[in-house]
């Protein structure tokens, strides 16, 4: 067995586990937790396109989740349009908003960009929270929107059990992971990385850095909005606090930073670690110390930034590689040291 075969085997193994999980986990509660874990992994992977590769720190991605959720829900409630179609409309609107945010802000550096995105997202939340109607569209202020039960099935994007949602978000996650992998190996990926690290040097090498970042932002906002529709259909109730909140924007960034921004595995690892922490802290401290999960995240972030500034993916990738090397060493009979040296 060589390294490639082992990688492929590990990948297939993970896929089998992911697709087979609902057959083993019968508890709706636990499945719900896993669905949200995938949801966050998906959001963070989408965020990573601009926050990781392009080297900026957007802290307002909840705005795009909100745009996606509200667009598809309003279109479905008021005009009877299928959420699937509404999802795409929401994606397009989020793309436009994302580009409009990016145009003036990508010239800013560091903290200023982050602050500008926070301001934008908060602005959108305050608007939605304080008006009942935007033009003819009913957003219903802070009370939010309830999606009444329709006939369940794929057409209405509505199901009686958790399993279909599980598979939908799993497929979405796999697709966005594949997209990220593809982009990271393409010209755009190289350009984003270069522009994020040394903008002046990148420009001198023929890269229009601002344009590359805008393209990343457009894709990221589109993909993020799709998850908004998923969330609306999954929970059947959306309100500004739940999906346009700063908490959500921050949690995405936390997951990315702790897992390792700019890497493909980072968002998954971050979500795998932080979501259970968040869920259990909400279960045990929810009454006495609400918001405890954010404090824990902050602590974890400080520790990770101190000891592994490139995120948890780095030591874990190294560990995996040395394991693979050891395996190869055994099967080829070459001995351990030999195998490690070769990796």
């Amino acid at each position: 067995m060589n390294e490639k075969q082992i990688n492929r085997l590990a990948g297939i193994g993970l896929l089998v586990i992911a697709f087979g999980l609902p057959l083993v986990v019968r508890s709706a509660t636990y499945l719900h937790i896993v669905v949200l874990l995938y949801f966050y992994a998906y959001l963070t992977t989408s965020w990573n396109l601009v926050g990781g590769f392009a080297g900026v720190l957007p802290l307002g991605h909840a705005a795009f989740v909100g745009i996606g959720a509200y667009t598809s829900t309003i279109l479905s409630l008021q005009y009877g349009i299928s959420p699937w179609l509404g999802m795409l409309v929401g994606g397009v609107i989020a793309t436009i908003v994302g580009v409009l945010i990016g145009l003036p802000t990508f010239k800013m550096r560091g903290a200023y960009f982050a602050l500008a995105t926070i301001a934008f997202a908060e602005g959108i939340r305050v608007i939605v929270e304080n008006v009942d109607y935007i033009g003819p569209l009913k957003v219903n202020g802070p009370r939010g929107l309830q999606i009444p039960p329709l006939e369940t099935g794929l057409v209405n994007y509505m199901f009686a059990s958790k399993e279909p949602y599980y598979y939908i978000i799993l497929v979405m996650l796999l697709l966005v992971l594949f997209l990220t992998w593809f982009i990271s190996r393409s010209k755009l990926g190289y350009y984003l990385n270069a522009g994020g690290e040394e903008p002046e040097a990148a420009m001198a090498l023929g890269i229009n850095v601002a344009r590359a970042k805008l393209i990343a932002m457009a894709m990221s906002s589109f993909l993020t909005a799709l998850a908004g529709t998923f969330y609306a259909q999954f929970s059947l109730y959306i309100h500004p606090k739940s999906i346009i909140s700063l908490d959500l924007s921050f949690e995405i960034a936390f997951i990315a930073l702790i897992g390792g921004r700019g890497s493909i595995a980072g968002p998954i690892l971050g979500a795998l670690l932080l979501r259970p922490v968040g869920d259990f802290s909400r279960i045990y401290f929810g009454d006495t110390l609400p918001g405890m999960h954010l404090i824990i995240f902050g602590l974890v972030l400080i520790l990770v930034m101190h000891y592994q500034p490139r995120g948890l993916q780095e030591p874990l990738t190294r560990l995996y590689k040395s394991l693979v090397a050891r395996l190869i060493g055994k099967t080829t009979g070459g001995g351990q040291e030999h195998g490690i040296a070769r990796s």
Binding site: K187, Y191, N193, E198, A201, A204, L205, G206, I207, N208
Partner: protein
Amino acid sequence: MALLVVKDMTKQFGGLRAVDSLNLQIEEGQIFGLIGPNGAGKSTAFNCIAGLFPPTAGEITFDGKNINGSKPWDLCKQGLARTFQIVKPFGSKSVLYNVTVGSFATTNSRSEAEAKALKVLEYLNFADKKDILAANLTIADRKRLEIAKALATEPKLLLLDEVMAGLRPNEVDEMVEILKNLRNRGITIFVIEHIMRAIMALSDRIVVIQFGKKIAEGTPDEIANNEKVIKAYLGEDYAVA
């Protein structure tokens, strides 16, 4: 044919005139040197030509086209590449990745870009370090990486800003050889350098500037014997020599 013509170029920063009506003309295939004491405006002149900021006045013509205020990325696509005095590697990436970023200027395919980058690395005797992270390179190798990145964009004119500063004497000799080879391959080179030994050995023609103004122009021999240049570098006392 003149590849680069700079006419009456002036760059003003507030009250400071960093470059003052500079005129120069670089022929195709030349190695052209720009020297001057610290703070003379050499890098500012480079930055204007390379599009980092537009000149306050004057006209820059590259390959027959006016390029005043053109953006760096457009200039790069037209065949004008540069290195930075303070090296700017993409530190978290490998040497090969760094150079591939440059070769993407000429192609959209990753495999093709990588193949081109590898060729550049081989040409610079650098291929053995292709997998090393750029942040871990020695200063000499970082300078070489700067050149490799710029070369990968397949330029007609290469602007080199002090690529030999900080190199050991034998490394300087190696760099001189590399640059001569590049010229033989048809690349025009415009170079700022402080190491006189190198610039005298390399250049076909040299311009000297002081306080933003041109004080001399000529062949290396003419420059070495020019009284104004000696004054600028060594002070009034040495003028008689």
